[in-house]
């Protein structure tokens, strides 16, 4: 039997230029309505002229292992999928929006059709052995789809010896997205 997958992402902010191709790729892949987004790009600059530093990063649902949205969902519409991702069953979603309030990452929104929507980590693609739309378009390969269950796998190799962080870890969400910090020295 194939080993259970546990999908996550390693996002290398050292190379991300914030071009937003991931956002557009997601929009067309997943028919995200105009004015909405499942993923987004942040360009953060700190310091004062001329001592400035910048980090660009693509963000989305963190597919937490301990997801407050799943905890809070009254109907089980938000649930853990067998591949380690957090998914929404549209035909059980009442649109109560509790999951939106519960998400510390503001990753969800109410789709104009009523159900709550968010990044699915392109489950319809990963099921076919494809990478997510955002990962497959990313010109800098900043975005990487990884299987966190893979021992000493790609994820580990990518992150070894580098400054890596997860967002709001102290929220206890155990998120599946890892960021390689832009403050790493070249070639770290």
């Amino acid at each position: 039997m194939a080993k259970q997958k546990n999908y996550g992402m390693v996002i290398d902010t050292r190379v991300c230029v914030g071009c937003s191709a991931c956002v557009y790729a997601c929009k067309s892949e997943n028919s995200v309505p105009d004015g909405y987004c499942r993923d987004w790009v942040i360009q953060e600059t700190n310091g004062t002229f001329p001592k400035l530093r910048m980090e660009n990063r693509s963000e989305r649902c963190q597919h937490c292992a301990n997801a407050p949205c799943v905890t809070y969902c009254p109907t089980g519409a938000s649930h853990y999928a067998e591949d380690g991702t957090v998914q929404i069953n549209r035909s059980r979603c009442t649109g109560c929006k509790a999951c939106i309030a519960a998400c510390p990452y503001d990753a969800r929104y109410v789709h104009p059709k009523g159900f709550v929507d968010k990044c699915s980590l392109c489950k319809h693609r990963t099921e076919q052995g494809l990478e997510t739309a955002c990962v497959s378009v990313c010109p800098t390969k900043s975005l990487n789809l990884v299987d966190l269950n893979e021992h000493e796998g790609t994820a580990q190799q990518m992150m070894n010896g580098k400054e890596v962080y997860r967002q709001k870890e102290h929220a206890g969400t155990n998120p599946s997205l890892y960021w390689i910090s832009a403050s790493n020295k070249p070639g770290a």
Binding site: G18, S20, V23, G35, Y36, C37, W40, V41, I42, Q43, E44, T45, N46, G47, T48, E59, P68, T71, Y72, C73, P74, T75, G76, A77, S91, R92, C93, T94, G95, C96, K97, A98, I100, A101, A102, C103, P104, Y105, D106, R108, Y109, V110, K113, G114, F115, V116, K168, A171
Partner: protein
């Protein structure tokens, strides 16, 4: 260290989420308000029933086991108001056709799932109480099934009321817990919010009863109201203190509420909180009721309870809105 600036450019857009949460508008505060009053009414009426039947305390009842008028009306209003509140709750659902999904599962970790079942459990007993306290009137209608139901259960009114006192407390607290489970929203993530909404629900319920109680019953509700307001003031104090002495998330959120210049209906949160909720909704009615109890003639005795009700409503709006307009747990 030299001063440093942070510039963030984001492509994120999602209506109702960006620039800040705006998923819940008037429906939810109104539901929480009505739910609070429903819980409060159930607590007060059921305790009044128990006190009267067990200990003979309270206004004179109307004979044949029917309690005083305010309790009779209050018992009816409790499920009625909650029912109306639930209509608002339903109206708030973005995917209304799927409302049935609440009742095909029990999600043990979801307060909303628990709540949706508690709400169902609430109605039979609350309605039963409303029927029993109004049995004289109902029997007069000559509906066999209703009369039969009353016949079967009338001896157990005390037990029904005792259970309802607990359910009422549960509903009151639940309206606060619903929000305080959201650890992602620092203002709501306070365990005292349940207590605050319960006490506020009771004070609002007492105020409401004060409005429709006949004069001879008024002093009881005035006393309940005054005491509830006292306790509420203490709980509000604890809520505020707990916030501002807390870590950055909580204190920031609390300051956003009590000193924030974010506007709600053209007025800052700070003014709403101190001016409307605390001063107008708690302190002034407390003073008025104190004066009235001390024998000072108050020209418009309705003012105090109306202010309490306004305060209760404003509290729900403030908490729901300020909790949304502050950023997530950082």
């Amino acid at each position: 260290m030299t001063s440093t600036t942070t510039e963030i450019i984001s492509t994120k857009v999602n209506p109702g989420v960006i620039p800040h949460l705006h998923i819940w508008e008037w429906h939810i505060p109104l539901y929480l308000f009505l739910g609070g009053i429903a819980g409060g009414l159930l607590v007060i009426t059921s305790i009044m029933i128990v006190l009267k039947r067990r200990f003979g305390i309270g206004p004179q009842d109307e004979g044949d086991g029917c309690p005083c008028l305010a309790v009779r009306i209050g018992s009816i209003l409790s499920p009625a108001l909650l029912g109306i509140g639930m209509i608002f709750l339903f109206l708030d659902l973005a995917n209304k056709f799927y409302v049935w999904a609440f009742y095909t599962t029990i999600q043990p970790t979801s307060p909303m799932s628990a709540g949706s079942w508690i709400l169902l459990a609430f109605f039979p007993l609350a309605i039963l109480q409303a029927m029993l306290v109004n049995k004289k009137f109902l029997r007069g209608l000559n509906i066999p099934i209703v009369s039969k139901l009353i016949d079967w259960t009338e001896d157990h009114l005390t037990i029904v009321a005792l259970l309802n006192a607990h359910i009422g407390v549960g509903i009151g607290i639940y309206t606060g817990i619903l929000l305080s489970f959201f650890s992602a929203r620092p203002l709501w993530a306070s365990s005292i919010l349940g207590m605050l909404f319960l006490v506020s629900g009771i004070s609002s319920a007492a105020a409401l009863m004060l409005l429709f109680a006949p004069d001879r019953e008024k002093p009881v509700y005035s006393m309940i109201d005054a005491n509830a307001i006292w306790i509420e003031l203490v709980v509000v104090g604890l809520f505020v203190l707990g916030g501002i002495t807390g870590p950055a998330n909580s204190s920031g959120a609390m300051m956003h509420l009590i000193a924030g210049d974010t506007q709600m209906a053209g007025m800052s949160y700070m003014l709403w909180f101190w001016g409307i909720f605390v001063a107008l909704g708690l302190v002034i009615p407390l003073l008025l009721e104190f004066l009235e109890a001390a024998g000072v003639h108050i020209r418009f005795p309705q003012v105090a309870p109306v202010l309490v009700l306004i305060g209760g409503l404003v509290l729900r709006f403030l908490i729901v809105f300020a909790g949304q307009t502050y950023h997530t747990f950082m």
